[in-house]
């Protein structure tokens, strides 16, 4: 009979932790060495909601044109309709250089 393994669940999920890491990285790059917990949490939540909403909107634009695989046009429409400026993105990636956040190492479950 297999032993029931206790899996430690961290209080926030790994994806969200990486989101807040990204926000922290942006803050440090801009020269903010400290941020209140509330600020960090607000910005993290905004980033998460932004991703979900862009995904949702792109998906809807895609289905509206009778397709299932989203194209760059769908994403573009979603971004523009949400008021994000897409014309300045190429200057942005040329100007700002970031060190990408690595994915945390895959954890292998310990069996005893």
């Amino acid at each position: 009979m297999e032993k029931v393994e206790a899996i430690v669940v961290p209080n926030i999920d790994a994806y969200r932790r990486l989101l807040s890491k990204a926000i922290s990285q942006l803050l440090i790059d801009k020269g903010a060495v400290l941020a209140s917990h509330q600020c960090l949490e607000t910005l993290t939540q905004m980033l998460q909601a932004l991703f979900v909403e862009i995904g949702n909107s792109s998906h809807h634009f895609c289905e509206l044109s009778g397709r299932t695989i989203p194209t760059v046009g769908d994403v573009g429409l979603a971004l523009i309709s949400m008021g994000l400026n897409v014309t300045t993105l190429d200057t942005y990636i040329r100007r700002e250089t970031h060190v990408p956040i690595p994915l945390p190492p895959q954890q292998t479950q310990q069996r005893q």
Binding site: A32, C39, M46, Q48, I69, L84
Partner: protein
Amino acid sequence: GNSGERVTSSSHHLSDFLLQLEDYTPLLPDAVTSHYLNMGGFQADDKRLVRLISIAAQKYMSDIIDDALQHSKARTHMQNVNTPGGSKAKDRKFTLTMEDLQPALADYGINVRKMDYSQ
């Protein structure tokens, strides 16, 4: 109309931009971005689309943080001017608080309000 043309030219611009994203890594790993996009029902095989969204969101957040820090700079500058003999130290280190983030977000049309029960 005019706005329609603008959208079309933006889309052309965007598909050219997409070609550059093959070897550009955004701040967030693609897996994280895809996870949240999937929550909104978005499923794409093309990782360049994921990167495009990631960069757009990254720029948006970075603009907001910039604005908030501008507010912070303006406020601390005012304080230094008002207090005689105040620290004129030009340390370019800032602390971000809700006091500065709130007006910056208000400029973007986002209303942040602390609930009565929160501490």
